[in-house]
């Protein structure tokens, strides 16, 4: 453990946003926004510097308080964490710029929400902390930080629908984290350690481990709105303010996915069965179909986008069955692991960009129209050309048409599916894409349709439209450094690895 480079960046990545958030509390409305925006830029800059550090030196660690695990807590920034942190920084900085303009837009805007800034900085610190954390209990604290911030941001608009959605979200989040913590208690009781690295070595298969895996997976599935527990997501994401919706769907739900991935791959390898992978994949598959279908049926733009998140998160769950090898297959001979991992990471990034852009565009449309019923989107192209373009590009990435990042993710997923011989997932991917194409083209058809009446669109600031467009373009641009990114990720031990599942053992892997 000592052969890894110790670096101050992991500590700064959590500490700096908290410090700036605390500082911003001392200012009044405008000052809060200014400090908040500067804080966001600083944090993003720091994240980029840390990313470069990892790219140069490989995994860096920071042993907090100088106490080595298992007694103390270690922060670890490997390339997987670096990619997630970098994604948060890039998407976050654009959303911050948008929010800065959006809240200042005078008449048509929603007004000023000074609390947005400290909450968003705390959220950012929580996300960074989560990606860096290497300790089961510390992960619980960070997901609680994220949960409280996310709900507080979601109810910021003050609308009653947002309040109802927010309370439902919060109760789901608390339930999820308590279930997670129950699993942590059992793991600690049976091993006496909380450090992920050590746990991967000492955890023994058995009833307790399997049950802990079950409750932890249940808790995280609730948190990331995995299929049977997705009920809270669409109302919460659609009722929030536009920048908040973008943050919630682009970044927050990815946190729980990240923990799930890390724990399944690094810690619980010993008690995961092939069937458990199939089950979680099934949940993902149902989410893809159900979420896309629900999105197709909605009549308001933000609800369409929110339901589409459920579907897109389903794709993330679908990589799990590919990563878990059937009994008798070894990781060396499984050539589908690398495509599956690539699919997962690119799905995360492409969805973050595309969905952020989609929600920001929806916010602009609400700003222009005063509502977001889709039948009023007629002649969007004539009135808000850039926004229409952003929606089009983001939609293309969500469907998975080339040359978008979404295409790359889905293509790699299909490749992994066929290489592994689990062909039964392929129709789901295709059907999901078709349904997505259905609602995206429905939107685009309306956007190009001639207007029935003139002058319904109020002008919106150009700069906001451009931010949305840049994010949409981002979901395409990520394809270019793909080779480099995969190489970079392969330097991490986790990436490209699979779980050689056990044959026997308690398999209540039913969440």
């Amino acid at each position: 453990m000592t052969d890894l480079l110790t670096s101050p960046y992991p500590a700064l990545l959590v500490g700096l946003p908290v410090l700036l958030a605390t500082l911003s509390l001392f200012f009044r409305t405008r000052g809060k926004a200014l400090v908040g925006l500067l804080g966001c830029l600083l944090t993003a800059g720091l994240a980029i510097v840390a990313f470069i550090e990892v790219a140069q030196h490989g995994t860096v660690i920071h042993i907090l308080g100088g106490w080595e695990p298992p007694l103390g807590i270690m922060l670890r920034m490997d390339s997987l964490a670096a990619v997630f942190i970098g994604m948060t920084a890039v998407v976050g900085v654009f959303i911050s710029l948008y929010a800065w303009q959006y809240f200042r837009a005078d008449e048509s805007g929603p007004g000023e929400f000074p609390l947005f800034w400290p909450l968003w900085l705390f959220l950012w610190a929580g996300l960074n902390g989560l990606f860096l954390s290497n300790d089961l209990f510390n992960l619980f604290v960070t997901i609680e930080v994220i949960g409280i911030c996310a709900v507080a941001l979601a109810v910021l608009s003050g609308k009653t629908t947002a309040m109802f959605a927010g309370l439902r979200y919060l109760l789901a989040a608390i339930t999820g984290s308590m279930a997670y913590l129950f699993g942590v208690a059992l793991i600690y009781g049976s091993t006496g350690t909380l450090d992920l690295g050590l746990l991967g070595q000492v955890l023994e298969p058995g009833t307790t481990t399997t049950f802990a895996l079950l409750v932890i997976t249940f808790g995280l599935m609730v948190k990331m709105a995995g299929f049977p527990f997705h009920f809270w997501l669409p109302p919460a994401h659609s009722a929030a303010l536009a920048p908040v919706s973008a943050l919630l769907s682009a970044l927050v739900v990815k946190g729980a996915f990240y923990i799930l991935l890390r724990l399944w791959m690094e810690v619980f390898g010993v008690s995961i069965t092939y069937a458990a992978g199939q089950l979680i994949g099934l949940a993902g598959a149902i989410a893809v179909i159900w979420g896309s279908w629900q999105a197709f049926m909605q009549t308001s733009l933000k609800l369409i986008v929110a339901h589409s998140s459920v579907a897109q998160l389903g794709y993330l769950l679908m990589i799990f069955p590919l990563l878990i090898l059937a009994p008798g297959v070894t990781a060396d001979s499984a050539d589908w692991l690398s495509p599956a991992w690539t699919a997962g990471i690119f799905q995360v990034i492409a969805h973050a960009f595309a969905k952020a852009s989609f929600f920001l565009s929806a916010g602009l449309i609400i700003m222009a129209l005063g509502h977001d019923r889709i039948e009023s989107l007629r002649d969007l192209v004539g009135n808000m050309r850039i926004t229409a373009m952003a929606i089009g590009l983001a939609g293309v990435s969500l469907i998975g048409l080339p040359p978008s990042g979404g295409f790359m993710a889905k293509w790699m997923l299909l490749k992994g599916i066929f290489l592994s011989g689990q062909w039964w997932w392929a129709p789901v991917v295709l059907a999901g894409s078709l349904l997505t194409a259905g609602y995206v083209f429905m939107l685009l058809r309306l956007a190009f349709a001639p207007a029935r009446e003139m002058g319904t669109f109020k002008p919106v600031p150009k700069s906001l439209e451009i931010v949305a467009l840049i994010l949409a373009l981002g979901s395409f641009l990520i394809v270019f450094p793909a080779d480099y990114m995969i190489q970079f990720l392969e330097s991490t031990g986790v990436f490209g690895s699979g779980i050689e599942s056990i044959v026997e053992g308690g398999a209540y892997g039913n969440d």
């Binding site: 007694l71 619980f140 604290v141 109810v155 309370l167 109760l171 279930a179 208690a185 109302p235």
Partner: protein, 100 residues
């Protein structure tokens, strides 16, 4: 049967009661209380394992974790309560209705 076993079994029961309560109870306050009961169960299991691992003193790490956990749980519960009261103030609703 030793002391810690009694409480660790109790912890599972409390957790399940809380879990069921979150889903089945209708009133906001009851749902919030159910989450705290769930938390109580989880913390009880932590502390019972600490008692099992006692040497000269009981394992202090779970104690510290539980203190942290209790405070975190209370902060979220207070927030949930604020939301529930705000909803009541705005709409007069005390539980989730079907459509919302």
């Amino acid at each position: 049967m030793e002391t810690y076993q009694i409480y660790s079994l109790t912890s599972a029961v409390l957790f399940v009661i809380g879990l069921g309560g979150v889903f089945i109870s209708r009133h906001f306050i009851k749902k919030i209380i159910a989450t705290i009961i769930m938390g109580g169960g989880v913390f009880l299991s932590f502390v019972s394992f600490a008692e099992r691992d006692a040497l000269t003193f009981a394992d202090p790490v779970p104690h510290a974790l539980v203190i942290t956990g209790i405070v975190v749980a209370v902060a979220s519960a207070a927030f949930a309560l604020a939301l529930a009261r705000r909803i009541y103030q705005l709409t007069g609703e005390e539980s989730f209705t079907k459509d919302k």
